[in-house]
């Protein structure tokens, strides 16, 4: 999937996650910033999930900011998928 513009999805409500993404130049790689209310317990697993989703969609050069308010994995995946699809549309 090719990310061509900035996009966001989700919210900062409880049990949700706000994901903001923008494309980076080729070969820049992934810059992922995560802020979570459960950072200590789940920070690593959230980062792993995000990277796995980006692998699935074959997205490499991206700046991603995630502000998490205790979202389940299914919500994180849903919001990331939504943001990526929005960012890939003309």
């Amino acid at each position: 999937m090719e990310i061509i513009k900035k996009a966001q999805a989700g919210s900062f409500e409880s049990s949700d996650i706000l994901i903001l993404i923008e494309p980076l130049d080729k070969k820049t790689g992934r810059k992922i910033e995560i802020d979570s209310t459960v950072m200590k317990e789940y920070g690593d697993s959230i980062k792993k999930l995000i990277n796995n989703c980006l692998d699935t969609y074959q997205v490499q050069n991206i700046h991603l900011i995630a502000k998490d308010k205790g979202a389940l994995d299914l919500t994180i995946s849903a919001r990331l998928e939504t943001a990526l699809k929005r960012a890939s549309q003309q």
Partner: protein, 292 residues
Amino acid sequence: MKKKRRTMLYIPGNNPAMLQQGGVYGADSLLLDLEDAVAINQKDAARILVRNILKEIDFYDAEICVRVNHIDTPFGMKDLEEIVPLQPDAIRFPKTETPEELGRLIEIIEHIEDKHGLPHDKMTLHVMIETALGVQNVFDIAKLSKRVDAITIGGQDLTADMNITNNRDGSGIDLARKMIVMAAKANKIDAIDTVFVDINDDEGLRKEAEYSKNIGFTGKAVINPRQIDIIHEVYQPTQEEIRKAYKIIRAFKKNKEAGIGVFSVDGKMVDAPVMARAAYVLELAEIDFDSI
């Protein structure tokens, strides 16, 4: 066994907190809403979230229904393509006006089911009547397909379509309510009443639910979990109804053991519809059939 649908709780499809807790609210049915409860610019987000929710969340005993957007909107087809393969218990289709429109929807759903190797007889359809034209056509809509197992009235949109005020006493939509009930009864399917929007008026809700039940609705849509218990109380069978149902089931079991097929209770013959009604009353009363 007939499904209990005393309450159908609307849950906004873009609200993860409410969606993931859906099973604990105690409603008989959950309506995961992709339509009116979701802003236009969040339709895509809600669709993907509800899809993931359907795949992973356990809603315990609640029936799961998804209200999709109308197929004439930019969102309806995409909703069906994502949701139909997951086969929730039912799809709720808004603003149905003609049997031809319903027929088109069913064709689309069956095409998606064929693509995924799914049967045509598992997921049912709930049809929403929300316009005067829909009310006029409700009898033909209700009888179109065996997949339709509930008709529901959308009171807010109906009053807007009729250009009338939505009065407390519901007088403006009373004829519509009764036509919808009659069409549902003629086809032996459920009739679900519209929501009561004032979530702080318990007495008003109870009064409206009692009226709905008296004219034949089998349940009511709700917009807040606080409304569930009141409606369940209204639909609770009376002691007399429970006693009668208990008697019928006990007699059925006794006669079955003795190899007797036809029997009577209190001088009245008990046939299959009477048995089904008795079993439904016991289910509403939460009495275990097997314990009798």
